[in-house]
């Protein structure tokens, strides 16, 4: 074990998988000579050469599609989007091609590809560069959607995503790259996709959150503990497939549930989670399930407004107080 950053964990995961399998390569804007816009691919060009660390021009639809075609004939591409905001111009490749080809071809061609990069709101970069798009991808059958919150999860999940035989949308927390965690150096540190993780145990309320919101919920749990309220924080880690069993087990135990997401409220993935929990845990619930989301607006630039739009610790605490009928 060793304490490393989320960024370093991703870098290790890719290096280890590229050492292990000659069919794995990475392609994207600035991944090679620039060492990655967020330095996630630091040093990889020197290690693996231009053949396997491929700098692409600004053509997301083009290089995402090149990845899909290469995956159809047996390579295992990692396609990096500089940020997931730019995946929107490649979304035809992700939804109409990557997600559907296995089914459209009657099971003949699978598409083992990872689309990865930072997502979720960033800091003061305006509405086009600051948004959570996981709900778009989690909607689509044929895709897997992974959203690690910690360096430990980032490494184990990315290694597993690269080995998966299906298209995986792997959204990293844009503001999490410098966070640190104890991570095994073991090259077989693998976390199965579709396995939730209890990040903090508690008996009074279940907080379900992923990516950056896990950290917000852990902070909220600390604040609540001072009031004598013990919150359990459960991180699904992958939104599709979703480990409803682990989530439901926690909700049955606590009888109360708050789903926290940094995306917009309407048709957000949290609505699906809340639906699943009420269906599976109806007899155990002591209060209606609450959701905490960002406000229903494009992200403003000004720091004070940006903070106000996104879920803060105080918003989570308030929601917990509501499900506990404390206000």
């Amino acid at each position: 074990m060793g304490v490393i950053s989320y960024r370093e964990a991703l870098n290790q995961a890719m290096r280890e998988e590229m050492e292990r399998d000659a069919d794995v390569f990475i392609m994207g804007e600035e991944v090679g000579y620039y060492n990655g816009a967020y330095k996630v691919t630091q040093g990889m060009l020197q290690r693996f050469s231009e053949r396997r660390v491929v700098d692409a021009p600004i053509a997301e639809m083009g290089f995402a599609g090149v990845g899909v075609g290469a995956a159809m004939v047996g390579l295992r591409p990692i396609v990096e989007f500089m940020t997931f905001n730019f995946s929107l111009v490649a979304i035809d490749q992700i939804i109409n091609n990557a997600a559907k080809i296995y089914q459209m071809s009657g099971g003949q061609f699978n598409v083992p590809i990872v689309f990865r990069g930072p997502g979720g709101p960033a800091v003061q970069v305006g509405s086009q560069h600051s948004q959570a798009l996981e709900s778009f991808y989690a909607h689509v059958p044929g895709l897997k959607v992974v959203m690690p919150a910690t360096a430990y999860d980032a490494k184990g999940l990315l290694k597993m995503a690269i080995r998966d035989d299906n298209p995986v949308v792997f959204i990293e927390g844009e503001t999490l790259y410098n966070t640190t965690w104890d991570v095994p150096t073991d090259e077989e540190h693998l976390i199965p996709l579709g396995q939730a993780d209890v990040k903090r145990e508690g008996k009074d309320v279940t907080l379900i959150a992923w990516s950056k919101m896990v950290w917000t919920c852990l902070d909220a749990a600390k604040a609540l503990a001072e009031e004598g309220i013990e919150a359990e924080v459960v991180d699904p880690r992958t939104l599709r497939p979703l480990d409803v069993d682990t989530l439901a087990e926690s909700v049955r135990k606590t009888g109360r549930c708050v789903v926290v997401e940094i995306g917009w409220p309407v048709a957000g993935f949290g609505a699906e989670v809340a639906y699943q929990m009420q269906k599976l845990c109806m007899d155990s619930l002591d209060a209606p399930i609450e959701r905490v989301t960002s406000d229903d607006v494009p992200m403003p630039y000004a720091k004070n407004l940006e903070d106000e739009v996104q879920p803060q610790v105080k918003d989570v605490v308030a929601a917990v107080r509501r499900v506990l009928y404390l206000e």
């Binding site: 083009g62 090149v66 899909v68 075609g69 004939v73 091609n97 099971g107 699978n110 044929g142």
Partner: protein, 343 residues
């Protein structure tokens, strides 16, 4: 022979004229070479006609795009390939699949939505795929498959397997981003791909002059320093030779080529389109240039007896009748969950 316009002529981006007829020397052929190509074209036409009939009887649903009139393009181009080479096509791809070696039975059964269909009734007319034939599929989003073809070619270059990818699309695709980005990356990374624009002169109901500022689609290659070629697609041997040059370039020097083949579809865009945007005279004029008639006449010149031609035609008729019966008699498609995610 008028070959491709290579990068040396980039400074003079002139429309590449379509010759009225090539030097006959260049189109020398033999009955041995032409006979199987004529047979393929005829089988594709009979298969398309059978599909149209089944569609009108309500046995095939959805969209059905027929290639009648354009058969020489997919047959001639595919004839220039080796088995290891890949083909990526559009939603008008029954002929391309057949030319790449897929039998009429699973193609028609797929159109009928049957369990025995090429993709188990999950894809239909627009999404034929056959891994065993390196047929990488039919795609329904115009231009979205061009990067996929570049990707298959990227994999060939990555591995050094010597395979070439052919990508077919219509002239209507030349205005969309997927085409532009696929073309740009194929040129930048020198991928072994041949991009074949089947210019049938109408993108659905819109003639070329109302969708593109120039009449020559192959001009798009010049911006990327990419080799290009442009010719008419009436003669299957000409298609085979000219695509063959581009395939050779891709295989030996890993350079892509944009090839525009001018052709014509005799039917509407799809079954629901009566084609009212074209005059009868125009359609009749193109029907006089029918690639099948041309090849048949050539076979006669080359010494094939009428009785031999009739025998071949009877054989094709029986093949397609058998495929229709197979499709009719096959059980309905019955599963879809196993193919969403590979376990």
């Amino acid at each position: 022979m008028v070959g491709c316009v290579a990068t040396a002529s980039m400074s003079t981006p002139e429309t590449k004229r379509i010759e009225a007829d090539d030097d006959p020397q260049a189109l020398e052929t033999t009955a041995e070479e032409l006979r199987p190509l004529y047979r393929q074209m005829l089988a594709i036409r009979r298969m398309e006609e059978a599909s149209a009939k089944a569609y009108s009887q309500g046995k095939i649903g959805g969209f059905l795009h027929l290639i009648i009139g354009q058969e020489a393009v997919c047959v001639g181009a595919t004839a220039a390939l080796e088995a290891k080479d890949y083909v990526v096509a559009t939603y008008r791809e029954h002929g391309h699949a057949y030319a790449k070696g897929v039998a009429a039975r699973p193609i028609l059964a797929e159109l009928y939505g049957k369990k025995t269909g090429l993709v188990k009734g999950l894809g239909g007319s627009m999404h034929l795929f056959d891994k065993s034939k390196n047929f990488l599929g039919g795609y329904g989003i115009v231009g979205g498959h061009v990067p996929i073809a570049a990707g298959a070619a990227f994999a060939s270059k990555y591995r050094g397997d010597g395979a070439v990818t052919l990508c077919f699309f219509g002239e209507g695709a030349s205005t969309i981003g997927g085409f532009a980005e696929g073309l740009a990356l194929a040129a930048l990374w020198k991928l072994p791909v041949v991009l074949i624009c089947e210019n049938n002169q109408y993108s659905m109901g819109t003639p070329l002059y109302r969708s593109l500022a120039v009449e020559d689609v192959s001009l798009r290659a010049l911006a990327h320093g990419m080799a290009r070629d442009r010719f008419d697609g009436d003669d299957v041997i000409k298609v085979k030779r000219r695509i063959g040059e581009a395939v050779e370039r891709a295989r030996t020097t890993s350079e892509p080529t944009l090839v525009e083949v001018v052709t014509y579809r005799f039917r509407g865009h799809s079954m629901s389109d009566p084609g009212l945007y074209r005059t009868k005279e125009e359609v009749e004029e193109w029907k006089r240039r029918d690639p099948l008639n041309r090849s048949r006449a050539r076979l006669t010149e080359l010494g094939l007896a009428e009785s031999e031609l009739e025998e071949l035609e009877a054989e094709v008729k029986a093949e397609i009748e058998d495929a229709v019966k197979f499709a009719e008699d096959s059980p309905a498609a019955d599963e879809y969950f196993p193919y969403v995610v590979k376990e």
